[in-house]
């Protein structure tokens, strides 16, 4: 069966009639050899009025063969020739008949436009998409606020179990990794500080560096970025796949508000967990810094602590902590917006999960910038 002949198509012109003789295997696996034959045969410029195709020698024939034959016949017909098919076995007639009805409407050619127009279009689309994103974030904030109001009026409608469960996932289970990362960042900061301050003999200022930098900026920033990557992405993926499977629609048809049931507990958990994690993270970073300062710079813990007391005040600590819940809110809202925006495909889920992390980290840093300006203005 595998010894079937390669497809053949031979043409001879007799008067104004082109006679084609086909043989061999006209199937999918031979389509590659067959297609050039179809396109070339009999195209030597001699005038032809009619075409007769003898299919008697064809051993196997499938949709690919049938379509190529049909294409051949259509090409000749388009040139005003009469075409005739002879000796095609009855079993293949049915298939030929079926194929004759396909591809009657030609596909619209994809429009080509200049690179310049394409760039302009892309820029426009990106801007519109960015605008819509902002709008959706504001809308989600509004929905969440409305849900908070409703819950505040009737506290019993709060999904307390759900909040606790989310709190465990995004807060408690995140503690080890957050401690580890911030501890390392604090140590590295101290090592770099010591190394550079040593040249001026100002090693002890490394305590100021660590204390202010960690408490004001780094502690909360690193924790927020970690949470965006760790919990924001999972929120998006969860809500997204629930949307794909119509679970969110199911909730809505039961007269329940998905924002209240799915979004609110998640965002509440984040708003509670991120400040706690930021506090723990800051402490771990200072601890790491103190260890390195002791081991590497010879600043013993007593000196470190007393120096730290002079370097920072309550304001420094507050500046960092005030930012934490706002960053948590951004992570939660962006994650839920992106989750809701997931369409039917697996690719869409992946795209929105990435977008969720990228956008929330970007917005966290923008927000941090605004806070820096604000705190400078109020003198904190």
């Amino acid at each position: 069966m595998l010894q079937l002949q390669a497809p053949l198509l031979k043409g001879s012109v007799r008067g104004e009639q082109l006679e084609l003789v086909a043989a061999g295997e006209w199937t999918a696996r031979r389509a590659r050899d067959l297609e050039p034959l179809i396109d070339q045969v009999g195209r030597d410029g001699r005038p032809v009025r009619s075409v007769v195709i003898d299919m008697g020698g064809v051993e196997r024939f499938d949709t690919f063969g049938a379509w190529l034959l049909e294409r051949l016949m259509r090409a000749w017909k388009a040139e005003g020739c009469r075409t005739e098919l002879v000796n095609l076995s009855d079993t293949y007639q049915v298939l030929m008949e079926e194929v004759r009805h396909t591809n009657l409407t030609s596909a619209p050619a994809p429009g080509r436009e200049s690179a310049f127009v394409a760039t302009l279009e892309l820029t426009g689309r990106t801007m519109v998409a960015a605008g819509r994103d902002l709008l959706r974030i504001v809308q989600m904030l509004g929905e969440v606020s409305a849900a908070v109001m409703r819950v505040a009026r009737r506290p019993r409608t709060l999904r307390f179990t759900s909040v606790i469960y989310q709190l465990e996932r995004v807060g408690w289970r995140a503690v080890p990794i957050m401690l580890l990362i911030t501890f390392l960042v604090g140590s590295i900061l101290a090592q770099q500080g010591l190394f550079n301050f040593r040249r001026f003999g100002a090693e002890v200022y490394v305590v100021d560096l660590i204390g202010i930098l960690v408490l004001r900026e780094l502690g909360v920033l690193i924790v927020a970025i970690m949470v965006a990557g760790r919990s924001g992405s999972s929120y998006t993926a969860e809500l997204g796949s629930m949307r794909m499977r119509e679970e969110i629609d199911a909730l809505r048809t039961m007269g329940l508000d998905p924002t209240e049931i799915l979004v609110l507990p998640r965002i509440m958990a984040l708003v509670i967990a991120v400040p706690l994690l930021a506090f723990l993270g800051s402490m771990a970073a200072i601890y790491g810094g103190a260890l390195v300062a002791w081991a590497y710079g010879g600043i013993n813990p007593d000196i470190f602590l007393s120096r730290l007391k002079e370097a920072i005040d309550l304001d420094t600590f507050e500046v960092g902590m005030i930012k934490a819940p706002f960053m948590a809110l951004i992570i939660g809202v962006v994650a839920c917006v992106e989750g809701y925006a997931v369409q039917g495909s697996a690719e869409s889920l992946g795209r929105h999960t990435t977008a969720s992390v990228v956008k929330s980290i970007f917005l966290i840093i923008v927000l941090d910038g605004f806070f820096a300006v604000f705190f400078a203005a109020v003198g904190m």
């Binding site: 696996r29 297609e35 499938d62 079993t91 079926e98 794909m244 697996a346 690719e347």
Partner: protein, 261 residues
């Protein structure tokens, strides 16, 4: 069609399949003849899909042999195995279309992987297949999540037929379709089976499909094929499960029993 009568396309002998402690199929034997439509029935959770998935190699077996076109798939080398795999197409129950590809790309996918043909031919063949399964040309650029259940089944069928296979496995092709859609789909399978000379292995619960398009029916119960033959054999049987299945209330609704009267 060209083959002599009763040439065996799929031969299953003493097949044993199980998961953990549970044995799903025990010493099961079954023949599928070339050019026939075989309906495969059995209760839910009895292992119908497991058999299909075992034949196509998605589920490992514990014992027995499976031959497709006389090739024992366990003993065949990678090359021979792939050659055999190209000779079958599978319609999964939920369609299993690639969700991030358009309808046209879904149908072209197997062709693109296996055949080195021009883009023009790919395009034309994909359209021809889509039209043969009864879809209008304007669905080609939709993505699967924009399609209705019936359309998904049709696109999945077009994809299963992409390489002009000789055997198609259909896993509950009419489930989830309305009666009119199901009847149309039955007709479509029958038409394509005749046109393309297919061997069809169809897992189904649809008594109408069994009645109208299946040449033979095989019944799975007690981890074995307990009966195989045309509808008349099924109706004549005294096995309690067969009686309940083919002569129950729903069967009467499908007009099966009057025929015997």
């Amino acid at each position: 069609m060209l083959a002599p009568a009763h040439e065996v396309a799929i031969r299953v002998r003493d097949l044993v399949v199980g998961f953990g402690d549970a044995t799903i199929l025990d010493q099961l034997s079954l023949d599928v003849f070339r050019g026939e439509v075989l309906g495969f029935v059995g209760g839910s959770g009895m292992g119908k899909s497991v058999l299909t998935r075992t034949i196509v190699g998605l589920v490992p077996k514990r014992g027995g042999t499976i031959e497709v076109f006389g090739v024992d798939l366990d003993k065949a080398g990678a090359e021979a195995r792939r050659a055999t795999e190209r000779r079958w197409g599978i319609l999964f129950q939920q369609g299993a279309l690639f969700s991030s590809l358009t309808v046209r790309q879904n149908v072209q996918f197997p062709m693109r992987e296996y055949l080195q043909v021009s883009d023009r031919l790919l395009e034309e063949i994909a359209m021809a297949k889509l039209e043969m399964v009864g879809l209008r040309p304007d669905v080609r650029d939709k993505i699967p999540s924009e399609l209705s259940g019936g359309m998904i089944k049709r696109v999945a069928l077009a994809r299963a037929l992409a390489l002009d296979p000789e055997i198609v496995f259909l896993d509950e092709p009419t489930s989830g379709l309305d009666p009119i859609g199901a009847a149309e789909f039955d007709d479509l399978i029958r038409t394509l089976q005749r046109t393309l000379g297919l061997t069809v292995f169809m897992v189904t619960h649809d008594l109408d499909s069994l009645h109208t398009i299946c040449d033979r029916i095989a019944v799975l119960a007690d981890r074995k094929v307990i009966a195989a033959g045309p509808m008349a054999t099924m109706l004549a049987s005294d096995h309690p499960w067969l009686k309940a299945y083919f002569r129950g209330k729903r069967a009467r609704g499908a007009g099966l029993t009057q025929e015997r009267g």
